[in-house]
Protein backbone atom coordinates (compact mmCIF):
# COMPACT_ATOMS: atom_id res chain seq x y z
CA UNK A 1 0.00 0.00 0.00
CA UNK A 2 2.92 2.29 0.63
CA UNK A 3 3.98 4.54 -2.21
CA UNK A 4 7.40 4.25 -3.69
CA UNK A 5 9.54 6.78 -1.72
CA UNK A 6 11.06 8.20 -4.90
CA UNK A 7 7.62 8.84 -6.35
CA UNK A 8 6.50 10.57 -3.17
CA UNK A 9 9.54 12.76 -3.30
CA UNK A 10 8.75 13.87 -6.83
CA UNK A 11 5.16 14.64 -5.90
CA UNK A 12 6.13 16.88 -3.00
CA UNK A 13 8.72 18.66 -5.11
CA UNK A 14 6.13 19.49 -7.66
CA UNK A 15 3.79 20.61 -4.92
CA UNK A 16 0.94 18.37 -5.90
CA UNK A 17 -2.30 19.41 -4.24
CA UNK A 18 -3.23 16.47 -2.10
CA UNK A 19 -4.25 16.18 1.48
CA UNK A 20 -1.37 13.78 1.94
CA UNK A 21 1.14 16.47 1.01
CA UNK A 22 -0.03 18.74 3.78
CA UNK A 23 2.48 18.72 6.61
CA UNK A 24 -0.11 17.97 9.25
CA UNK A 25 -1.43 14.91 7.43
CA UNK A 26 1.80 13.69 5.95
CA UNK A 27 2.02 10.90 8.55
CA UNK A 28 -1.17 9.43 7.05
CA UNK A 29 0.78 8.45 3.98
CA UNK A 30 2.34 5.73 6.09
CA UNK A 31 -0.97 4.53 7.50
CA UNK A 32 -2.56 1.87 5.40
CA UNK A 33 -6.25 1.13 6.04
CA UNK A 34 -5.83 -2.64 5.65
CA UNK A 35 -3.96 -3.40 8.88
CA UNK A 36 -6.50 -1.34 10.79
CA UNK A 37 -9.47 -3.06 9.22
CA UNK A 38 -8.09 -6.58 9.57
CA UNK A 39 -6.90 -5.85 13.10
CA UNK A 40 -10.34 -4.62 14.08
CA UNK A 41 -12.07 -7.68 12.64
CA UNK A 42 -9.60 -9.95 14.40
CA UNK A 43 -10.41 -8.17 17.61
CA UNK A 44 -14.13 -8.81 16.97
CA UNK A 45 -13.48 -12.54 16.70
CA UNK A 46 -11.47 -12.59 19.90
CA UNK A 47 -14.12 -10.49 21.62
CA UNK A 48 -16.86 -12.92 20.64
CA UNK A 49 -14.89 -15.86 21.97
CA UNK A 50 -14.20 -14.00 25.20
CA UNK A 51 -17.88 -13.08 25.61
CA UNK A 52 -19.04 -16.65 25.02
CA UNK A 53 -16.46 -18.08 27.39
CA UNK A 54 -17.09 -15.42 30.01
CA UNK A 55 -20.82 -16.05 29.91
CA UNK A 56 -20.41 -19.81 30.29
CA UNK A 57 -17.74 -19.63 32.96
CA UNK A 58 -19.60 -17.03 34.99
CA UNK A 59 -22.84 -18.98 34.78
CA UNK A 60 -21.38 -22.44 35.21
CA UNK A 61 -18.50 -22.22 37.64
CA UNK A 62 -20.78 -21.95 40.67
CA UNK A 63 -22.47 -25.25 40.00
CA UNK A 64 -19.26 -27.10 39.28
CA UNK A 65 -19.02 -29.10 42.48
CA UNK A 66 -17.68 -32.57 43.17
CA UNK A 67 -21.21 -33.75 43.63
CA UNK A 68 -22.23 -32.34 40.27
CA UNK A 69 -19.47 -34.33 38.58
CA UNK A 70 -20.14 -37.58 40.40
CA UNK A 71 -23.89 -37.79 40.94
CA UNK A 72 -26.78 -38.73 38.70
CA UNK A 73 -29.48 -36.26 37.71
CA UNK A 74 -32.36 -36.21 40.15
CA UNK A 75 -35.81 -34.69 40.44
CA UNK A 76 -36.58 -34.56 36.75
CA UNK A 77 -33.14 -33.19 35.84
CA UNK A 78 -33.52 -30.11 37.98
CA UNK A 79 -31.03 -31.30 40.60
CA UNK A 80 -28.13 -33.68 40.96
CA UNK A 81 -25.17 -34.16 38.67
CA UNK A 82 -24.10 -35.35 35.28
CA UNK A 83 -21.87 -38.32 36.01
CA UNK A 84 -23.74 -40.73 33.70
CA UNK A 85 -23.33 -38.24 30.86
CA UNK A 86 -19.58 -37.87 31.48
CA UNK A 87 -19.19 -41.63 31.71
CA UNK A 88 -21.25 -42.16 28.56
CA UNK A 89 -19.23 -39.56 26.65
CA UNK A 90 -15.92 -41.15 27.60
CA UNK A 91 -17.20 -44.65 26.77
CA UNK A 92 -18.62 -43.41 23.47
CA UNK A 93 -15.49 -41.65 22.23
CA UNK A 94 -13.30 -44.51 23.41
CA UNK A 95 -15.28 -46.96 21.29
CA UNK A 96 -15.26 -44.47 18.46
CA UNK A 97 -11.45 -44.27 18.41
CA UNK A 98 -11.21 -48.06 18.54
CA UNK A 99 -13.13 -48.08 15.25
CA UNK A 100 -11.89 -44.88 13.63
CA UNK A 101 -8.13 -45.07 14.19
CA UNK A 102 -7.42 -48.49 12.64
CA UNK A 103 -9.68 -47.80 9.68
CA UNK A 104 -8.34 -44.27 9.23
CA UNK A 105 -4.69 -45.33 9.46
CA UNK A 106 -5.30 -48.23 7.09
CA UNK A 107 -6.92 -45.89 4.59
CA UNK A 108 -4.02 -43.44 4.83
CA UNK A 109 -1.52 -46.27 4.35
CA UNK A 110 -3.46 -47.52 1.36
CA UNK A 111 -3.65 -44.10 -0.24
CA UNK A 112 -0.01 -43.33 0.30
CA UNK A 113 1.75 -46.66 -0.14
CA UNK A 114 -0.44 -49.04 -2.07
CA UNK A 115 -2.65 -47.07 -4.43
CA UNK A 116 -1.08 -45.31 -7.35
CA UNK A 117 -1.69 -41.60 -6.81
CA UNK A 118 -3.42 -41.20 -10.17
CA UNK A 119 -5.43 -44.41 -10.10
CA UNK A 120 -9.21 -44.21 -10.28
CA UNK A 121 -9.58 -45.99 -6.96
CA UNK A 122 -7.26 -43.61 -5.10
CA UNK A 123 -9.05 -40.61 -6.59
CA UNK A 124 -12.39 -42.08 -5.65
CA UNK A 125 -11.30 -42.69 -2.07
CA UNK A 126 -9.96 -39.14 -1.83
CA UNK A 127 -13.19 -37.66 -3.18
CA UNK A 128 -15.13 -39.83 -0.74
CA UNK A 129 -13.00 -38.71 2.20
CA UNK A 130 -13.30 -35.04 1.28
CA UNK A 131 -17.05 -35.29 0.84
CA UNK A 132 -17.44 -37.30 4.01
CA UNK A 133 -15.99 -34.31 5.86
CA UNK A 134 -18.61 -32.03 4.30
CA UNK A 135 -21.72 -34.06 5.07
CA UNK A 136 -23.97 -32.40 7.69
CA UNK A 137 -23.83 -34.33 10.92
CA UNK A 138 -27.59 -34.90 11.10
CA UNK A 139 -27.24 -36.90 7.89
CA UNK A 140 -24.76 -39.13 9.67
CA UNK A 141 -27.31 -39.62 12.42
CA UNK A 142 -29.93 -40.75 9.94
CA UNK A 143 -27.38 -42.89 8.15
CA UNK A 144 -26.48 -44.56 11.45
CA UNK A 145 -30.12 -45.25 12.16
CA UNK A 146 -30.81 -46.62 8.70
CA UNK A 147 -27.62 -48.54 8.12
CA UNK A 148 -26.19 -49.59 11.45
CA UNK A 149 -29.38 -50.09 13.45
CA UNK A 150 -32.01 -51.11 10.94
CA UNK A 151 -29.74 -52.99 8.57
CA UNK A 152 -26.71 -54.30 10.50
CA UNK A 153 -28.36 -54.47 13.93
CA UNK A 154 -31.55 -56.13 12.71
CA UNK A 155 -29.42 -58.48 10.65
CA UNK A 156 -27.49 -59.54 13.75
CA UNK A 157 -30.74 -60.01 15.65
CA UNK A 158 -32.18 -62.20 12.93
CA UNK A 159 -29.02 -64.24 12.56
CA UNK A 160 -28.04 -64.75 16.20
CA UNK A 161 -30.96 -63.83 18.44
CA UNK A 162 -33.84 -65.48 16.59
CA UNK A 163 -35.33 -62.10 15.76
CA UNK A 164 -35.40 -60.90 19.38
CA UNK A 165 -34.45 -57.28 19.87
CA UNK A 166 -30.79 -57.13 20.98
CA UNK A 167 -28.77 -55.06 18.54
CA UNK A 168 -31.52 -53.73 16.28
CA UNK A 169 -32.08 -50.71 18.50
CA UNK A 170 -30.21 -47.55 19.41
CA UNK A 171 -27.06 -48.48 21.35
CA UNK A 172 -23.62 -47.20 22.19
CA UNK A 173 -21.94 -49.40 19.58
CA UNK A 174 -24.04 -47.90 16.77
CA UNK A 175 -23.58 -44.36 18.04
CA UNK A 176 -19.82 -44.82 18.26
CA UNK A 177 -19.69 -46.38 14.79
CA UNK A 178 -21.67 -43.46 13.40
CA UNK A 179 -19.28 -41.02 15.08
CA UNK A 180 -16.35 -43.03 13.77
CA UNK A 181 -17.60 -42.56 10.21
CA UNK A 182 -18.03 -38.86 10.90
CA UNK A 183 -14.50 -38.41 12.30
CA UNK A 184 -12.70 -40.69 9.84
CA UNK A 185 -11.66 -37.83 7.54
CA UNK A 186 -9.84 -36.13 10.42
CA UNK A 187 -7.89 -39.29 11.20
CA UNK A 188 -7.12 -40.01 7.55
CA UNK A 189 -5.97 -36.50 6.73
CA UNK A 190 -3.74 -36.03 9.79
CA UNK A 191 -2.23 -39.50 9.39
CA UNK A 192 -1.51 -38.96 5.72
CA UNK A 193 0.03 -35.62 6.49
CA UNK A 194 2.32 -37.19 9.06
CA UNK A 195 3.27 -39.91 6.59
CA UNK A 196 4.07 -37.34 3.96
CA UNK A 197 6.44 -35.67 6.43
CA UNK A 198 8.53 -38.82 6.95
CA UNK A 199 11.91 -38.29 5.30
CA UNK A 200 12.29 -40.30 2.09
CA UNK A 201 15.70 -41.33 3.49
CA UNK A 202 14.11 -43.52 6.16
CA UNK A 203 11.99 -45.36 3.64
CA UNK A 204 14.96 -45.90 1.33
CA UNK A 205 17.14 -47.12 4.21
CA UNK A 206 14.49 -49.64 5.13
CA UNK A 207 14.10 -50.97 1.59
CA UNK A 208 17.87 -51.09 1.15
CA UNK A 209 18.10 -53.37 4.19
CA UNK A 210 15.80 -55.86 2.54
CA UNK A 211 12.52 -54.79 4.11
CA UNK A 212 9.33 -55.49 2.23
CA UNK A 213 6.80 -52.74 1.72
CA UNK A 214 4.71 -53.99 4.61
CA UNK A 215 7.74 -54.23 6.91
CA UNK A 216 8.70 -50.70 5.96
CA UNK A 217 5.20 -49.50 6.77
CA UNK A 218 5.06 -51.48 10.00
CA UNK A 219 8.53 -50.61 11.33
CA UNK A 220 9.32 -47.23 9.81
CA UNK A 221 6.22 -45.47 8.52
CA UNK A 222 3.77 -46.12 11.35
CA UNK A 223 6.17 -45.50 14.27
CA UNK A 224 7.25 -42.28 12.61
CA UNK A 225 3.67 -41.15 12.01
CA UNK A 226 2.60 -41.85 15.60
CA UNK A 227 2.44 -38.12 16.28
CA UNK A 228 0.01 -37.60 13.44
CA UNK A 229 -2.04 -40.67 14.30
CA UNK A 230 -2.37 -39.61 17.95
CA UNK A 231 -3.12 -36.03 17.01
CA UNK A 232 -5.73 -37.21 14.55
CA UNK A 233 -7.23 -39.49 17.18
CA UNK A 234 -7.47 -36.76 19.76
CA UNK A 235 -8.85 -34.22 17.30
CA UNK A 236 -11.41 -36.83 16.28
CA UNK A 237 -12.31 -37.37 19.93
CA UNK A 238 -12.70 -33.68 20.60
CA UNK A 239 -14.87 -33.34 17.50
CA UNK A 240 -16.84 -36.47 18.31
CA UNK A 241 -17.38 -35.54 21.95
CA UNK A 242 -19.20 -32.39 20.91
CA UNK A 243 -21.51 -33.87 18.29
CA UNK A 244 -25.16 -34.37 19.15
CA UNK A 245 -26.91 -34.94 15.85
CA UNK A 246 -25.23 -38.24 14.94
CA UNK A 247 -26.02 -39.86 18.28
CA UNK A 248 -29.54 -38.65 18.98
CA UNK A 249 -31.07 -41.34 16.75
CA UNK A 250 -28.42 -43.97 17.29
CA UNK A 251 -28.10 -44.48 21.02
CA UNK A 252 -28.11 -41.40 23.26
CA UNK A 253 -30.75 -41.52 25.96
CA UNK A 254 -32.71 -38.76 27.67
CA UNK A 255 -32.19 -40.36 31.04
CA UNK A 256 -30.91 -43.74 32.17
CA UNK A 257 -30.95 -45.07 35.71
CA UNK A 258 -27.87 -47.21 35.01
CA UNK A 259 -24.48 -46.78 33.35
CA UNK A 260 -23.89 -48.45 29.97
CA UNK A 261 -21.99 -51.70 30.44
CA UNK A 262 -22.71 -53.65 27.26
CA UNK A 263 -22.18 -52.68 23.65
CA UNK A 264 -25.92 -52.69 23.03
CA UNK A 265 -26.81 -50.48 25.99
CA UNK A 266 -28.02 -46.96 25.50
CA UNK A 267 -26.09 -44.16 27.16
CA UNK A 268 -26.23 -40.56 28.29
CA UNK A 269 -23.88 -38.06 26.70
CA UNK A 270 -22.79 -34.52 27.56
CA UNK A 271 -23.71 -32.81 24.30
CA UNK A 272 -27.05 -34.57 24.16
CA UNK A 273 -27.60 -33.78 27.83
CA UNK A 274 -27.13 -30.10 27.02
CA UNK A 275 -29.73 -30.43 24.29
CA UNK A 276 -32.09 -32.24 26.65
CA UNK A 277 -31.65 -29.73 29.45
CA UNK A 278 -32.21 -26.78 27.18
CA UNK A 279 -35.22 -28.08 25.26
CA UNK A 280 -36.99 -30.78 27.23
CA UNK A 281 -36.70 -29.63 30.78
CA UNK A 282 -39.84 -29.59 32.89
CA UNK A 283 -38.61 -26.46 34.69
CA UNK A 284 -36.37 -24.19 32.69
CA UNK A 285 -35.57 -21.79 35.53
CA UNK A 286 -34.33 -24.54 37.81
CA UNK A 287 -32.40 -26.27 35.05
CA UNK A 288 -30.49 -23.21 33.86
CA UNK A 289 -27.57 -23.39 36.37
CA UNK A 290 -27.18 -27.10 35.64
CA UNK A 291 -27.19 -26.34 31.93
CA UNK A 292 -24.42 -23.75 32.32
CA UNK A 293 -22.29 -26.12 34.33
CA UNK A 294 -22.83 -28.97 31.86
CA UNK A 295 -21.78 -26.75 28.97
CA UNK A 296 -18.71 -25.72 30.95
CA UNK A 297 -17.76 -29.36 31.54
CA UNK A 298 -18.22 -30.15 27.87
CA UNK A 299 -16.05 -27.20 26.88
CA UNK A 300 -13.35 -28.05 29.41
CA UNK A 301 -13.31 -31.63 28.14
CA UNK A 302 -12.85 -30.65 24.50
CA UNK A 303 -10.31 -27.94 25.35
CA UNK A 304 -8.37 -30.39 27.47
CA UNK A 305 -8.35 -32.92 24.66
CA UNK A 306 -7.13 -30.33 22.18
CA UNK A 307 -4.43 -29.24 24.60
CA UNK A 308 -3.43 -32.88 25.06
CA UNK A 309 -3.12 -33.25 21.29
CA UNK A 310 -0.81 -30.25 21.19
CA UNK A 311 1.31 -31.53 24.08
CA UNK A 312 1.67 -35.03 22.62
CA UNK A 313 2.62 -33.61 19.28
CA UNK A 314 5.25 -31.39 20.85
CA UNK A 315 6.71 -34.13 23.00
CA UNK A 316 6.95 -36.57 20.14
CA UNK A 317 8.49 -33.91 17.95
CA UNK A 318 11.10 -33.19 20.62
CA UNK A 319 11.84 -36.87 21.00
CA UNK A 320 12.26 -37.30 17.29
CA UNK A 321 14.51 -34.29 17.09
CA UNK A 322 16.63 -36.08 19.70
Amino acid sequence: MMADPAAVHVTTDQGAVSILSHRRFRFLRHVSPLPILTGFLTLCVVAMLVIVLWNIIAGGIGGLTWEFLTASPTEGMTKGGIFPAIFGTVFLVFLMTVFAIPVGVATAVFLRYYARPESKLARLVRVAVNNLAGVPSIVFGLFGLGFFIQFVGRGIDKAFYGGDLAFGQPAIIWASLTLAVLTLPVVIVTTEEAMRAIPRDYIEASYALGATRWQTIRHVVIPNSMTGILTGGILAVSRGAGEVAPIMFTGAAYYLPYLPAKLNDQFMELGYHVYVLSTQSPDVEKTLPLLYSTVLVLLLLTFALNALAVVIRMRLRLRQAG
Partner: protein, 272 residues
Protein backbone atom coordinates in the same frame (compact mmCIF):
# COMPACT_ATOMS: atom_id res chain seq x y z
CA UNK B 1 31.84 -47.82 -23.97
CA UNK B 2 33.05 -51.34 -23.49
CA UNK B 3 33.20 -53.63 -20.55
CA UNK B 4 36.35 -54.26 -18.68
CA UNK B 5 38.24 -56.63 -20.86
CA UNK B 6 40.52 -58.64 -18.68
CA UNK B 7 42.89 -59.92 -21.31
CA UNK B 8 43.09 -56.38 -22.57
CA UNK B 9 44.08 -55.06 -19.17
CA UNK B 10 46.57 -57.80 -18.61
CA UNK B 11 48.11 -57.05 -21.98
CA UNK B 12 48.26 -53.31 -21.40
CA UNK B 13 49.66 -53.63 -17.91
CA UNK B 14 52.37 -56.23 -18.10
CA UNK B 15 53.81 -55.06 -14.77
CA UNK B 16 50.67 -56.30 -13.05
CA UNK B 17 50.86 -59.88 -11.96
CA UNK B 18 47.52 -61.28 -13.00
CA UNK B 19 46.84 -64.87 -12.16
CA UNK B 20 43.82 -65.49 -14.34
CA UNK B 21 41.17 -62.85 -14.81
CA UNK B 22 39.94 -61.21 -11.59
CA UNK B 23 36.67 -62.78 -10.41
CA UNK B 24 33.58 -60.84 -11.42
CA UNK B 25 30.90 -60.25 -8.79
CA UNK B 26 28.40 -58.31 -10.85
CA UNK B 27 28.31 -58.52 -14.61
CA UNK B 28 26.29 -55.89 -16.42
CA UNK B 29 25.54 -56.20 -20.12
CA UNK B 30 23.63 -53.84 -22.38
CA UNK B 31 21.97 -51.98 -19.53
CA UNK B 32 19.60 -49.21 -20.52
CA UNK B 33 17.65 -47.31 -17.95
CA UNK B 34 14.65 -45.07 -18.38
CA UNK B 35 12.84 -42.62 -16.14
CA UNK B 36 9.61 -42.50 -18.09
CA UNK B 37 10.72 -41.48 -21.58
CA UNK B 38 13.98 -40.06 -20.29
CA UNK B 39 16.93 -42.37 -20.88
CA UNK B 40 19.40 -42.22 -18.00
CA UNK B 41 21.74 -45.06 -18.98
CA UNK B 42 22.75 -46.09 -22.49
CA UNK B 43 23.95 -49.57 -23.20
CA UNK B 44 26.25 -49.95 -20.23
CA UNK B 45 28.55 -52.99 -19.98
CA UNK B 46 30.36 -53.26 -16.68
CA UNK B 47 32.13 -55.87 -14.56
CA UNK B 48 32.31 -55.29 -10.83
CA UNK B 49 35.35 -57.15 -9.51
CA UNK B 50 35.04 -59.20 -6.33
CA UNK B 51 36.73 -57.89 -3.17
CA UNK B 52 37.84 -54.67 -4.71
CA UNK B 53 36.71 -51.06 -4.59
CA UNK B 54 35.20 -49.79 -7.80
CA UNK B 55 34.68 -46.03 -8.09
CA UNK B 56 32.07 -44.47 -10.35
CA UNK B 57 32.90 -40.94 -11.38
CA UNK B 58 31.38 -38.40 -13.71
CA UNK B 59 29.62 -35.04 -13.66
CA UNK B 60 26.25 -34.64 -11.93
CA UNK B 61 23.38 -36.23 -13.81
CA UNK B 62 25.67 -38.56 -15.75
CA UNK B 63 23.87 -41.68 -14.53
CA UNK B 64 26.37 -43.01 -12.02
CA UNK B 65 23.94 -43.01 -9.12
CA UNK B 66 21.22 -44.51 -11.31
CA UNK B 67 23.68 -47.22 -12.28
CA UNK B 68 24.58 -47.85 -8.64
CA UNK B 69 20.92 -48.14 -7.71
CA UNK B 70 20.13 -50.64 -10.46
CA UNK B 71 22.50 -53.10 -8.80
CA UNK B 72 20.20 -53.59 -5.81
CA UNK B 73 17.06 -52.60 -7.68
CA UNK B 74 16.43 -49.56 -5.51
CA UNK B 75 15.11 -47.86 -8.62
CA UNK B 76 12.12 -50.20 -8.49
CA UNK B 77 10.68 -47.71 -6.01
CA UNK B 78 10.51 -44.93 -8.56
CA UNK B 79 7.25 -44.86 -10.52
CA UNK B 80 7.81 -45.07 -14.27
CA UNK B 81 11.42 -46.24 -13.95
CA UNK B 82 12.47 -49.19 -16.09
CA UNK B 83 15.69 -51.13 -16.58
CA UNK B 84 16.41 -53.07 -19.76
CA UNK B 85 19.46 -55.33 -20.00
CA UNK B 86 21.11 -57.94 -17.84
CA UNK B 87 22.65 -57.50 -14.43
CA UNK B 88 24.14 -60.77 -13.20
CA UNK B 89 25.03 -61.12 -9.53
CA UNK B 90 27.23 -64.22 -9.21
CA UNK B 91 25.80 -65.33 -12.52
CA UNK B 92 22.12 -64.87 -11.62
CA UNK B 93 20.04 -62.21 -13.33
CA UNK B 94 18.77 -59.88 -10.61
CA UNK B 95 15.80 -58.96 -12.79
CA UNK B 96 14.85 -62.61 -13.15
CA UNK B 97 11.33 -63.71 -12.32
CA UNK B 98 12.32 -65.85 -9.30
CA UNK B 99 14.47 -63.19 -7.71
CA UNK B 100 13.28 -62.06 -4.30
CA UNK B 101 14.18 -58.39 -4.29
CA UNK B 102 14.39 -58.27 -0.49
CA UNK B 103 16.92 -61.12 -0.51
CA UNK B 104 18.83 -59.32 -3.26
CA UNK B 105 19.01 -56.17 -1.14
CA UNK B 106 20.29 -58.14 1.82
CA UNK B 107 23.13 -59.38 -0.40
CA UNK B 108 23.74 -56.01 -1.99
CA UNK B 109 23.69 -53.43 0.79
CA UNK B 110 23.60 -49.69 0.34
CA UNK B 111 24.93 -46.60 2.07
CA UNK B 112 23.43 -43.28 1.07
CA UNK B 113 24.78 -39.83 0.47
CA UNK B 114 23.03 -38.32 3.45
CA UNK B 115 23.44 -40.42 6.55
CA UNK B 116 19.96 -41.68 7.32
CA UNK B 117 19.83 -43.49 10.64
CA UNK B 118 16.32 -44.18 11.89
CA UNK B 119 15.11 -42.10 14.84
CA UNK B 120 15.78 -45.07 17.08
CA UNK B 121 18.62 -46.14 19.34
CA UNK B 122 22.06 -47.01 17.99
CA UNK B 123 21.43 -50.65 18.82
CA UNK B 124 18.04 -50.74 17.11
CA UNK B 125 19.43 -49.12 13.99
CA UNK B 126 21.98 -51.87 13.53
CA UNK B 127 19.50 -54.56 14.55
CA UNK B 128 16.84 -53.35 12.11
CA UNK B 129 17.89 -55.47 9.15
CA UNK B 130 18.16 -58.58 11.33
CA UNK B 131 14.80 -58.06 12.93
CA UNK B 132 13.01 -57.66 9.63
CA UNK B 133 14.83 -60.72 8.39
CA UNK B 134 12.97 -62.54 11.16
CA UNK B 135 15.86 -63.08 13.59
CA UNK B 136 14.52 -63.12 17.16
CA UNK B 137 17.44 -64.59 19.12
CA UNK B 138 18.86 -61.87 21.38
CA UNK B 139 22.33 -63.40 21.46
CA UNK B 140 22.53 -63.54 17.69
CA UNK B 141 21.41 -59.94 17.40
CA UNK B 142 23.72 -58.72 20.19
CA UNK B 143 26.65 -60.36 18.52
CA UNK B 144 25.78 -59.08 15.06
CA UNK B 145 25.35 -55.54 16.40
CA UNK B 146 28.75 -55.63 18.09
CA UNK B 147 30.49 -57.18 15.09
CA UNK B 148 28.96 -54.72 12.66
CA UNK B 149 29.83 -51.75 14.83
CA UNK B 150 33.39 -53.04 15.14
CA UNK B 151 33.62 -53.52 11.38
CA UNK B 152 32.38 -49.98 10.90
CA UNK B 153 35.02 -48.72 13.39
CA UNK B 154 32.33 -47.27 15.59
CA UNK B 155 32.22 -49.78 18.46
CA UNK B 156 34.71 -48.05 20.73
CA UNK B 157 32.88 -44.76 20.39
CA UNK B 158 29.40 -46.05 21.13
CA UNK B 159 29.77 -49.26 23.13
CA UNK B 160 28.72 -47.53 26.37
CA UNK B 161 25.81 -45.78 24.72
CA UNK B 162 24.13 -48.42 22.58
CA UNK B 163 20.74 -47.30 23.81
CA UNK B 164 21.46 -43.68 23.01
CA UNK B 165 19.65 -42.11 20.10
CA UNK B 166 21.35 -42.46 16.75
CA UNK B 167 20.44 -38.92 15.79
CA UNK B 168 22.58 -37.59 18.63
CA UNK B 169 25.74 -38.91 17.01
CA UNK B 170 27.92 -36.63 14.89
CA UNK B 171 27.51 -36.65 11.11
CA UNK B 172 30.54 -38.87 10.59
CA UNK B 173 29.44 -41.28 13.31
CA UNK B 174 25.96 -41.42 11.82
CA UNK B 175 27.38 -42.37 8.46
CA UNK B 176 29.51 -45.12 10.02
CA UNK B 177 26.40 -46.28 11.86
CA UNK B 178 24.64 -46.54 8.51
CA UNK B 179 27.55 -48.61 7.24
CA UNK B 180 27.30 -50.84 10.33
CA UNK B 181 23.57 -51.17 9.74
CA UNK B 182 24.20 -52.23 6.15
CA UNK B 183 26.90 -54.70 7.23
CA UNK B 184 24.71 -56.31 9.89
CA UNK B 185 22.68 -58.25 7.33
CA UNK B 186 25.93 -59.73 5.98
CA UNK B 187 25.91 -58.48 2.40
CA UNK B 188 28.49 -59.51 -0.23
CA UNK B 189 28.39 -56.18 -1.99
CA UNK B 190 28.26 -52.69 -0.53
CA UNK B 191 27.00 -49.88 -2.73
CA UNK B 192 27.98 -46.43 -1.53
CA UNK B 193 26.46 -43.29 -2.97
CA UNK B 194 28.85 -40.44 -2.17
CA UNK B 195 29.08 -41.62 1.43
CA UNK B 196 31.47 -38.87 2.50
CA UNK B 197 30.24 -35.92 0.49
CA UNK B 198 28.46 -34.34 3.45
CA UNK B 199 31.29 -34.93 5.93
CA UNK B 200 34.26 -32.94 7.17
CA UNK B 201 37.78 -34.01 6.11
CA UNK B 202 38.50 -35.97 9.32
CA UNK B 203 35.26 -37.94 9.11
CA UNK B 204 35.88 -38.46 5.40
CA UNK B 205 39.32 -39.85 6.23
CA UNK B 206 37.75 -42.30 8.67
CA UNK B 207 35.24 -43.47 6.09
CA UNK B 208 38.01 -43.95 3.56
CA UNK B 209 40.09 -45.98 6.03
CA UNK B 210 37.01 -48.02 6.74
CA UNK B 211 36.46 -48.74 3.04
CA UNK B 212 40.09 -49.80 2.80
CA UNK B 213 39.55 -52.25 5.70
CA UNK B 214 36.30 -53.60 4.35
CA UNK B 215 37.38 -54.44 0.84
CA UNK B 216 39.06 -57.70 1.85
CA UNK B 217 35.63 -59.05 2.78
CA UNK B 218 33.23 -57.09 0.62
CA UNK B 219 32.88 -55.98 -2.93
CA UNK B 220 32.47 -52.22 -2.83
CA UNK B 221 31.10 -49.89 -5.46
CA UNK B 222 31.32 -46.21 -4.61
CA UNK B 223 29.99 -43.17 -6.38
CA UNK B 224 32.13 -40.13 -5.73
CA UNK B 225 32.56 -36.60 -6.98
CA UNK B 226 35.93 -36.39 -5.37
CA UNK B 227 38.67 -37.33 -7.85
CA UNK B 228 41.34 -37.65 -5.17
CA UNK B 229 39.07 -39.93 -3.22
CA UNK B 230 38.48 -42.16 -6.22
CA UNK B 231 42.22 -42.25 -6.88
CA UNK B 232 43.03 -42.99 -3.24
CA UNK B 233 40.62 -45.75 -2.42
CA UNK B 234 39.62 -47.59 -5.58
CA UNK B 235 41.21 -50.31 -7.66
CA UNK B 236 38.90 -49.78 -10.62
CA UNK B 237 37.22 -46.68 -11.92
CA UNK B 238 34.37 -46.17 -14.34
CA UNK B 239 33.78 -42.77 -15.93
CA UNK B 240 30.20 -41.98 -16.87
CA UNK B 241 29.09 -39.13 -19.05
CA UNK B 242 25.57 -38.38 -20.27
CA UNK B 243 24.35 -41.84 -19.38
CA UNK B 244 27.17 -43.66 -21.10
CA UNK B 245 30.09 -45.50 -19.62
CA UNK B 246 32.90 -43.70 -21.39
CA UNK B 247 35.79 -45.62 -19.94
CA UNK B 248 36.35 -48.31 -17.38
CA UNK B 249 39.59 -49.83 -16.14
CA UNK B 250 42.09 -49.95 -13.33
CA UNK B 251 42.11 -46.69 -11.41
CA UNK B 252 45.80 -46.11 -12.10
CA UNK B 253 45.18 -46.25 -15.81
CA UNK B 254 42.08 -44.03 -15.74
CA UNK B 255 43.94 -41.35 -13.80
CA UNK B 256 47.28 -41.51 -15.58
CA UNK B 257 46.84 -42.78 -19.12
CA UNK B 258 43.15 -42.77 -20.01
CA UNK B 259 42.37 -43.87 -23.55
CA UNK B 260 39.52 -41.40 -23.96
CA UNK B 261 39.98 -37.69 -24.34
CA UNK B 262 36.80 -37.00 -22.31
CA UNK B 263 38.09 -39.08 -19.42
CA UNK B 264 41.34 -37.18 -19.40
CA UNK B 265 39.53 -33.84 -19.52
CA UNK B 266 37.33 -34.86 -16.62
CA UNK B 267 39.94 -36.35 -14.29
CA UNK B 268 42.25 -33.41 -14.86
CA UNK B 269 39.44 -31.04 -13.99
CA UNK B 270 38.98 -29.47 -17.38
CA UNK B 271 35.22 -29.98 -17.21
CA UNK B 272 32.62 -31.46 -14.93
Amino acid sequence: MTALNHSHIAAKQPERVVVGPPPVKIQVRGLNFFYGSNQALRNVDFDVITHAVTALIGPSGCGKTTFLRTMNRMNDQIPGARAVGTVLLDGTDIHGPDVDVTALRRRVGMVFQRSNPFPKTIYENVAFGLRIAGIRDHYVIDEAVENSLRLAALWDEVKDNLNGLALQLSGGQQQRLCIARALAVKPDVLLMDEPASALDPISTGKIEELIEDLKSRYTIVIVTHNMQQAARISEYTGFFYMGELIEYGPTVKIFTTPSEKRTEDYVTGRFG
